[in-house]
């Protein structure tokens, strides 16, 4: 048969092609119908709030009602953050009764706030300490810095050097955000000094897509003791978030330590849901890494672990240990900064290198749920081994607790703690001791000594010293033995933060010192002990730093910080306080418990600031002996080439 017309009717069986066409058309039509139905259903569903892919959760409306006529804080239970709560309770109260300073922050007050001997850049914002180390005769300190303002942002690495960790000289920025892998932030990192003399810096970069990656950098010239210039490894990043870890949960690599296999090991904090974890990597060259399967540690409910630190401490010696130290008579310390509550926690424990595991001695007080380095403002801390003086030194970022308005007005924000040596408390075996490095004592000028002052219940005594804004105070207190015996036992658990502060009198406390106080006591900051005789006759002592009356200003934190401090048989209560304008660092029982606070008085400044000793205990006298040094300035300033020192 021959087809004369170009189009053969479809019914023609002989045309295989046309049959196929028909099938195809119908199938396509069918799928289009299907597709349009799917799309239509999707459209309907997306407008329907009830249908859901997620297991149906309770969607009942909260019946919380705003009180629109008051500015009263609803409290932590209603979800209002502690931080805004603490301002409001002070502000609200002061509006009605009592003195208040509604428009503080003139230049006199603000310029007084700058510290004299704590590290801070000349202006702008600073946060985490980075890469501290000792190299070729100089202590190096790097830090998170915003070159553009007094708030966090545009973060780069600042740099300073010192011969003694007290007199700092500012150097040019070490690293800026000039690569795709750190364009959104040159974030925190740590230094590792290799035995062959190399200096390795590992740091977190926030990439141009805000992914957190780890990068390698090293000095441009190892012969420059000032290590001014730094080179970023051309093939950065060396680590990216591994599978299962979110791109914004991977930061702050530690100093590396040697394994028995001769590899270098680091740990990096992260989280899985609400469990804080520490990832572990081994490397030979700091360029390629092998992820270890085990987590160094994990603690549920603690959230993201920032600025993890991991190091050995000696059980026998008073000296520090190199991070790679292996031997007997060693305990390991693991430390984390909790993103959730801005506090630094540590735990003592043992490290199993083969299993890649840190096990806390006391699991109930594992990292994030137990001891803190400091019960005030102290975060993102980092230690390093100082090979010059064979000690381990701790740096901590001390942020502001005033308003952003004041920070912008004064043009800077944040200081660093005075570097502290860290060692195991051999007497308790269950905590660390921290103590300001001895070099701070080189700032001591004239001193005043007060021996065996007997302070009666209710007494507040002014101590006659020259000025009171730059001080090093070492004090000892004793309660009357008879009072201790007579006092009734109590099962009160004293908690600094909810105690009501130094004005709430108890049988055996509070007593201590008022720092940054004005003559009228309209502003004062008590640092005090509070002793409770427990139900078995055992004494429990707390050390607190009370901001509630520290300033007449309404926009500063008014919290009371502190904690219980172990006091052993036969020990007197001892307290060291460094006062340096708007920072007060307190150390109880040789550094068993530390509290750093920021204080912003409006009147107790310059010559008007005074020091008092007080005893608000009801049932006991307090006998106190103290020595108070005036402290010189550290004259922290930019480095000049013809600098000798």
């Amino acid at each position: 048969m021959r087809n004369d017309s170009p189009y053969t009717p479809l019914l023609n069986n002989g045309s295989h092609n046309n049959n196929r066409n028909k099938e195809i058309h119908l199938i396509v039509f069918g799928f289009l119908l299907l597709a349009s139905l799917i799309t239509f259903s999707g459209y309907i569903a997306s407008n329907n709030n009830v249908v859901s892919v997620v297991p149906h959760a309770d969607v009942s409306f909260s019946d919380e009602v705003t009180k629109t006529n008051t500015v009263v804080s609803r409290g932590v239970s209603a979800g209002v953050s502690e931080k805004s709560n603490m301002f409001l309770s002070a502000a609200g109260g002061n509006k009605v009764v009592g003195e208040s300073e509604s428009f503080p922050w003139n230049n006199t007050m603000l310029s007084w706030q700058r510290t004299a001997f704590h590290f801070q850049p000349e202006k702008n914002w600073m946060n985490d300490p980075n890469g501290p180390m000792y190299y070729k005769g100089w202590y190096h300190f790097f830090y998170q810095y915003n070159p553009n303002g007094a708030v966090w942002g545009d973060i780069v690495w600042g740099h300073a050097v010192s011969r003694d960790m007290i007199h700092w000289l500012h150097l040019p920025l070490a690293m800026v955000a000039d690569q795709w892998y750190d364009s959104n932030g040159v974030w925190t990192g740590s230094a590792t000094l290799l035995p062959d003399g190399q200096v390795i810096m590992l740091y977190t970069g926030s990439t141009n897509e805000s992914v957190q990656v780890q990068n390698l950098a090293y000095p441009a010239d190892l012969n420059d003791p000032l290590l001014v210039d730094w080179i970023k490894y051309p093939s950065n990043p060396v680590l990216v978030p591994p599978p299962g870890i979110l791109p914004k949960d991977f930061r702050d690599p530690t100093t590396a330590w040697l394994t028995s296999e001769g590899k270098w090991r680091i740990t990096i904090g992260s989280k899985l849901n609400k469990t804080g974890i520490a990832l572990v990597y081994d490397t030979v060259d700091f360029k390629t890494y092998e992820r270890k399967e085990n987590l160094l540690n994990a603690v549920p409910g603690t959230g993201m672990w920032e600025c993890v630190d991991f190091f050995p401490v000696s059980k026998k010696s008073e000296n520090g240990l190199d991070t790679s130290f292996k031997g007997d008579d060693v305990k390991h310390v693991m430390k984390v900064s909790l993103d959730d509550d801005r506090h630094d926690y540590y735990a003592l424990g043992t490290y199993d290198e083969k299993k890649v595991q840190f096990i806390a001695d006391d699991l109930k007080n594992d990292v994030g749920i137990g001891l803190r380095y400091d019960y005030g403002i102290f975060y993102a801390s980092k230690t390093f081994y100082d090979q010059k003086k064979d000690r381990r030194v701790l740096w901590g970022w001390i942020g502001e607790s005033d308003s952003e308005y004041a920070d912008v007005a004064k043009g800077w924000a944040s200081v660093q703690s005075i570097p502290r040596i860290v060692k195991l408390d051999k007497k308790t075996g269950s905590n660390l001791l921290q103590w300001p490095v001895a070099e701070v004592e080189s700032l001591r000028l004239k001193s005043d000594e007060f021996k065996n002052l007997k302070v009666k219940p209710g007494a507040v005594v002014s101590l006659d010293i020259e000025t009171a804004t730059q001080l090093d105070i070492i004090a000892e207190f004793e309660i009357d033995k008879e009072a201790l015996e007579k006092t009734a036992e109590s099962n009160v658990e004293y908690e600094c933060s909810t105690s009501g502060g130094a004005s709430k009198r108890g049988a055996l406390g509070p007593f201590g010192l008022y720092v940054l106080a004005d003559g009228d006591l309209s502003e004062y900051t008590p640092v005090y002990f509070y002793v409770v005789k427990g139900s078995n006759g055992k004494l429990k002592t707390s050390i607190c730093s009370d901001q509630s009356r520290s300033s007449l200003a309404n926009d500063v934190h008014k919290q009371i910080y502190g904690s219980v401090v172990p006091v052993l048989e036969g020990e007197k209560l001892s307290l060291r306080i460094l006062v340096d304008h708007s920072i007060v660092e307190s150390f109880a029982q040789g550094g068993r418990t530390c509290i750093t606070s920021r204080v912003y008085p409006t009147r107790a400044i310059y010559g008007a600031a005074k020091l008092f000793i007080f005893n608000n205990a009801i049932e006991t006298n307090v006998t106190a002996s103290l020595k108070v040094w005036q402290m010189n300035s550290a004259f922290i300033r930019p480095y000049h080439p013809d600098q000798k020192r």
Partner: protein
């Protein structure tokens, strides 16, 4: 045409199945996330109101919702600052003027400090600084309000700012 029947039946079958099958369809419905997020803030109703009024909320994750709230802080601060400047121009008692000038400084701080740092923190992946920024915005508003000895002409604005800031901080907290 014998090959066609099973295929046609299959397609017709799918047709009927899919007409009942809304569950397998991927959703672009963010209502549940908004509700869950707002339940963990101090003011569910206001939170829902603000987020739903912004079209970006329909496909935002929690970071996106927080950024929307920071934007609201910014626009409210701008509006309030304009009002403050208007009030300052009018004749005022000295104490009122002092309070207004202080408020201007406070709201400026929200705009130049709190908002930029919160946006950067959320975008760059270190949200705790956005929590700080939001909390501070509440403080600045409260401090402004407390500066007035008599009646405050900015009560509504200060209360609104405080509420929005508290909600923002609570949303950011969910990212930590």
């Amino acid at each position: 045409m014998t090959n066609f029947k099973p295929l046609a039946l299959t397609i017709i079958f799918c047709f009927f199945v899919s007409s009942h099958c809304t569950i397998i369809i991927p959703k672009n419905n963010n209502g549940n996330l908004i509700q869950q997020t707002c339940k963990q803030t101090p003011n569910y109703a206001i939170c829902i109101q603000y987020l739903k009024s912004d079209p970006r909320s329909s496909d935002a994750d929690i970071t996106g919702l927080a950024l929307i709230m920071v934007d609201i802080i910014k626009s409210k601060a701008n509006t309030t600052l304009n009002k403050i400047n208007q009030l300052i121009k009018k004749k005022q008692e000295p104490s009122q003027k002092e309070a207004l000038n202080s408020c201007a400084g406070r709201y400026k701080a929200i705009l130049v400090a709190d908002v930029p740092k919160s946006v950067a923190a959320l975008k760059q992946g270190d949200p705790k600084f956005a929590e700080d920024g939001s909390n501070d915005a509440a403080v600045e508003a409260t401090t402004c309000e407390n500066g007035f000895k008599g009646k405050s002409p900015l009560s509504n604005e200060n209360i609104a700012m405080h509420d929005v800031a508290a909600i923002t901080a609570a949303i950011v907290k969910q990212l930590l």
